[in-house]
Subunit: 239 residues, 2 copies
């Protein structure tokens, strides 16, 4: 695979835009899409995350897969509404309902940007690591949301007008965290490159205590795979 | 109306996010939404337009309506694909099919960002100035696209999960440019504040020759309304 492949395809291979966050799930999606024979174009959105370490992880994951990451800047802090982009404290334990770490219309925005990039590349696939099992109450991780977005995308673009279908791939949607980790491990994903922690330090080391760290740690335990996560000194993981 | 109203509403009035570009159409939508009694929150997206004059026009239009403009930064130039954000020359005459001034997935992206802002504000309406009559071949200006996006939005958000419907208003969708201008003039819109030209100068003065200028000029002629557009010296409008 050509790492600098970012032009409109002139071959017979199907091309895919893969939304990459730097976390465990999207790194697995990238490996799965490549294993399907898709030529992958990872896309990360810098929406004012608290930590640059997420984007640095996305860069590492893209490079390890022999792909080139595109980063779009979008400052969602201008409209506020989430602990991930505002100055609200990140909670250490999940409560009932939708968590305060919810980013308004996040997946709608991410998929829309991926759609724009797919249109420029003439790619027929968008892949996203949404998960309806460990989804923590985010409404835009449900299958019915993805189906509705796909229908919208197929009315939105030049490709749609010309009769070319766009498909939204969600290979993780019905998998548990342990199943995701086992699948990725089988495909050679190096999870030490990824960062899931909501409050990772500047070097990408995890706190071991936030919701995201707990779910990740429990996933490695359930999968029977050694946890390669780099934790901060003194941060004992509690899976 | 309170010009600084940007908080979550605690009154009984319905709130609306209004996408504002600085052009004639969206200025009319803002006036129509206010005339309906909606508390309006204009949103502009700075997606790497060639000219700051568009955003300055949006600021003027928002201020004239007693509202406060929110501007989101999104650099779509990173993914390319349009004469409006790339270094492709803007054509002076419309050809067949979709024009090169098409911005990939533009309205999907704009509506998604409006959806995020609507969620933060707890607004139940998004208003956008799409038009299926003078739409120049943009697929994401068609009624079926808007309906699909609205269905997606109603699956995407916290409000949707809680059973609160979101409505996408498109009051211009079946109007001719002349009908839009007559409606806006009746509502007191000052079109001298707006900029439609694809290649306006730094002061927002129009070229009089690009597709957008021609359609606008012809609209004022057909409406029987004096054209208040500020043209560049030596740029004789050809409507």
């Amino acid at each position: 695979m050509n790492p600098s492949q970012t032009q409109v395809p002139d071959d017979n291979q199907e091309h895919a835009v893969v939304l990459l966050s730097g976390g465990l799930d999207s790194a697995t999606v990238l490996a799965m899409a490549q294993a399907q024979g898709l030529v992958c174009h990872p896309l990360a959105v810098d929406y004012g995350q608290r930590h640059r370490s997420e984007l640095e992880a996305a860069q590492r994951v893209a490079a390890a897969a022999g792909t080139e990451l595109k980063v779009l800047q979008l400052d969602l802090r201008a409209i506020g509404g989430s602990a991930l982009t505002d100055d609200i404290d990140v909670p250490e334990q999940a409560g009932a309902g939708i968590p305060v770490t919810y980013v308004p219309a996040r997946n709608t925005v991410m998929l829309s940007l991926a759609l724009g990039y797919a249109e420029v590349l003439d790619a027929g696939v968008i892949a996203i690591g949404v998960n309806a099992v460990d989804y923590s109450g985010y409404p835009d991780c449900r299958p019915e949301f993805i189906e509705a977005f796909e229908a919208t995308a197929n009315l939105a673009t030049r490709a749609a007008v010309e009769g070319r279908r766009l498909q939204v791939l969600t290979p993780l949607i019905h998998l548990s965290k342990a199943e995701i980790i086992r699948a990725g491990t089988g495909l050679g994903v190096d999870y030490a490159l990824t960062v899931s922690c909501y409050q990772a330090d500047e070097d990408g080391r995890a706190c071991g205590r936030c919701d995201s760290c707990r779910i990740r740690r429990a996933g490695f335990d359930a999968a029977g795979v050694a946890d390669p996560t780099r934790y901060r000194a003194g941060a004992s993981p509690t899976g």
